[in-house]
């Protein structure tokens, strides 16, 4: 809870292990945040919590472990989340389940609750979002509900932190009292059958950790695992005919040939009974909710898509326009910082390493922090307001034509921020083929790290007014290419039936400033950390490769020439030539020269070839490599001190276009590739991705280069 309470000794304190279970979007992550002050990512689209997360904290004499299980609608093992949660609840050991429900929509939420209650475990129900319920004039009698269900029900609000202390107190009490009997009852025919099976189990003293009632219910529900357990037991012979009769009886009662559907109806009618008793819909009148009103505009059949495109366009404009403002200052700062630090270092080599290598490299990356912050804010807003699901709704018809799923939109759009979370969020796609297909084309959505490269080139070749549009075109163009690639893959490598599209559209929510701030802060810090470590190291390596081996002969021959040169202009020219020749014979120059023939048809000089290769470590390094390569070459010239100028002078328009095409398509960075391989499920997929992206990038860049040459 609060910090001053973390005093109890972890060895003597009582350990309480809590499993936090709930449907998607009921505010589980937020609740865990307000219980423990942990900082999990809270989002407003179904399925933010994919892995189970553990949070530890102390309260009084107790040592709490809260396991946040992925959101699940029911125990159907349909999605990965459901499987993770179901397996955990059945197989792991824990003391208590806290079932988080959304007070504003009990009917839907209690469906899961009743399945949990039939497990005969120790449960507490947290009626979350009670603040919102109050606003909507939904009154829940939690005490009466506790009585009816036989399970403690507490009103809480993760947002206002109301009732959080009471919830923890209740957990302690529930833990001390051990099991309480839940009062979930079925219709008479089902109860009869349960009683009969329980009677048999008792008669034969069947030994198991599970309660007899739960075993009986599971047998009736055709639960695979329970069947496997009992199948090898001698009582099976007697039990089987009884079960067959029981199932017939229940199916007849429900006029259905599906026992699971029959049970769902059982739960639903029990829940309707409870709701009728405990919920007082005071002044509820049948009128359109705010969400429905907003939806009637945002997902309007004709306005929906233009509105969405407008939002996207606005986001990219902002990224460029506002992001450009602080860039000047950052640039100036690093220039000043480099000079100041440089002045304190006497040794030439070390100074060059620190100033031209590390500070210039890291500076080039930090320069783009403002752009990245704006992009992250945009994506965080999409996520936390609930608009993301609407876009999936709007785009499914379109995506489906390309063999993708409307929900592929979520990982794809996340891919504009960073490929790594994008690869991870592809898990919301249940069907393996759909997921793999989405994984393969996430790379086409240009990630935030590629933004600096685009900004650099757009700035170098287009006017400031045009640059925003060019940036937008690059992003949309990448997405279009991705769709075409998806269609081709779907027709060839990923043939097969489609995954159904059934998705919840959460309520619209105003995102809290704290939440947005937090998500953006963590992501930005991740980027800066990368700049400080990975990229600093890469910059040092590139600096080394571009400065060594020292060729003394070369230097001396130029020095003598410079000495005899008469006017200043010639001197400068000679110095320039020296720098360029020095670079060409360096290690980096050799690598670039060696690979130059491969990239020559795309119009790249050796510097660009090198930048592409260093970009495999992290895309941000492309810019810092170009920075090191071109800044060294032009350092002596006063006029083209900035990288943008250097680029527009040294690279032709056609080469720049083809370079951008390669950056858009080729292999994601090292870290993303590792995540891709893990998510796709094998190293062979990495090689497929490598071949697929390399061939596509090369082929399209070749075409783009030759078209651009025509202008």
């Amino acid at each position: 809870m609060s910090n001053e309470k973390i005093k109890s000794c972890p060895l003597t304190a009582n350990h309480i292990k809590i499993a936090l279970v709930g449907q998607p979007n009921v505010g589980k992550s937020m609740l865990i945040n307000s219980i423990s002050n942990a900082n999990l990512h809270v989002g407003n689209f179904s399925g933010v919590t994919v892995d189970k997360t553990e949070v530890l904290f102390d309260y009084k004499n107790y040592h709490f472990t809260v396991v946040d299980l992925p959101g699940t609608y029911a125990f159907t093992d349909y999605t990965i989340e459901e499987r993770v949660t179901h397996n955990y609840l059945c197989a792991e050991s824990y003391d208590l389940i806290i079932n988080v429900v959304d007070s504003t929509n009990l009917e839907k939420n209690l469906q899961l609750t009743s399945e949990l209650m039939s497990m005969s475990k120790n449960i507490i129900i947290a009626l979350n979002m009670s603040d919102e319920a109050k606003k909507e004039a939904i009154e829940i009698d939690s005490e009466y509900m506790t009585q009816l269900l036989g399970v403690p029900c507490l009103k809480v609000s993760a947002q206002t932190k109301e009732g959080i202390n009471e919830l923890i107190e209740a957990a302690v009490i529930q833990y001390e009292e051990k099991s309480q009997k839940s009062k979930l009852i079925f219709s008479e025919p089902v109860e009869e059958e349960i009683a009969q099976i329980v009677w048999y189990l008792e008669k034969y003293k069947f030994s198991d950790d599970d309660s007899y009632r739960h075993i009986a219910i599971n047998l009736l529900k055709n639960d695979q695992k329970t069947y496997e357990k009992i199948h090898d037991n001698p009582i099976w012979i007697e039990l089987q005919p009884i079960l067959v009769e029981a199932l017939k009886h229940i199916e007849l009662h429900h006029d259905s040939d599906d026992i699971k559907e029959a049970f769902a109806q059982e739960y639903a009618s029990f829940n309707r009974g409870i709701i009728a008793e405990v919920v007082n819909l005071k002044n509820q009148v049948e009128k359109k909710t705010l969400t429905e009103k907003i939806d009637s505009v945002l997902i309007h059949p004709f306005l929906g898509i233009p509105i969405f495109l407008f939002f996207m366009w606005g986001l990219f404009q902002l990224t460029f326009e506002i992001g450009a403002i602080p860039m000047e200052y950052i640039d100036a700062f690093f220039g000043w910082f480099g000079d100041t630090i440089g002045a304190t270092i006497p040794n030439d080599d070390v100074r060059s390493l620190v100033v031209d290598g590390i500070i210039a490299g890291v500076g080039a990356v930090v320069l783009f922090v403002p752009n990245i912050i704006i992009l992250f804010i945009g994506i965080a807003l999409l996520e936390s307001t609930g608009y993301m699901s609407r876009v999936a709704f709007l785009l499914d018809g379109f995506f489906h034509k390309f063999g993708l799923h409307g929900q592929s939109f979520i990982p794809l759009v996340t891919g504009f921020g960073c490929s790594i979370p994008a690869y991870m969020s592809a898990r919301i796609l249940k069907n393996d083929r759909d997921r793999l297909l989405t994984l393969f084309i996430i790379g086409f959505m240009s990630c935030g790290a590629r933004l600096p490269v685009y900004v650099l080139f757009a700035g170098a070749f287009f006017s400031a007014q045009m640059a925003g549009n060019v940036l937008f075109a690059i992003y949309i163009g990448g997405a279009m290419l991705g769709l075409i690639a998806a269609k081709i893959l779907k027709l060839t490598a990923f043939k097969g039936a489609d995954e159904p599209f059934v998705m919840e559209m959460p309520k619209y929510r105003l995102p809290t400033v704290k939440l947005i701030w937090h998500t953006v802060l963590t992501k930005t810090m991740m980027y800066i950390k990368k700049a400080g470590t990975y990229i600093a190291a890469a910059s040092m390596l590139i600096w080394f490769l571009s400065n060594y081996p020292h060729n003394l002969e070369l230097t001396q021959s130029y020095e003598s020439k410079i000495e005899i040169a008469v006017d200043e202009k010639e001197k400068t020219n000679l110095l320039n030539q020296l720098a360029v020749e020095h670079l060409e014979q360096s290690y980096l120059g050799s690598i670039g020269k060696f690979t130059e023939p491969i990239f020559a048809p795309l119009g790249f000089d050796w510097k660009m070839s090198v930048a592409l290769q260093t970009g495999l470590a992290a895309k941000e390094v492309v810019v810092s490599t170009l920075g090191v390569l071109y800044a060294l070459g032009g350092e002596v010239d006063e006029e083209n001190s900035s990288l943008i100028d250097a680029i527009s002078k040294n690279i032709s328009f056609a080469s720049a276009i083809s370079f951008i095409v390669v950056i858009m398509i080729y292999l994601p960075c090292l870290a993303a590739s590792v995540v891709f391989t893990r998510e796709a499920g094998g190293i062979k997929y990495f090689f497929y991705l490598l071949i697929f992206t390399s061939i596509t990038a090369y082929f399209l860049a070749y075409i783009a280069y030759n078209i651009a040459l025509l202008f």
Partner: protein
């Protein structure tokens, strides 16, 4: 036989039968779409490729192919 796909916007219907495979049926059920549940049609996309419905205060999006599997009756 009338399915959810045939229903107009703002229409309220009751589910009679789910003609889906066992797996998809489970999915429907976990979203509260089962025999007897009441559904309101909120919105279609322009090409009617996706439909937004409301079941027990929850808004759900379905694709046309799935909507055609849900047999309904007007209430």
């Amino acid at each position: 036989m009338k399915t959810l796909y045939d229903c107009e916007k703002n229409c309220k219907v009751k589910v009679i039968k789910l003609n889906a495979s066992t797996e998809l049926k489970q999915r429907f059920i976990s979203f509260g779409i089962m025999k007897g549940s009441e559904i309101e049609i909120l919105q279609h996309t322009a090409a009617k490729s996706t439909v937004e419905i409301k079941v027990a205060k929850m808004r759900i999006a379905l694709r046309d192919t799935e909507a055609k599997l849900i047999e309904v009756q007007k209430i």
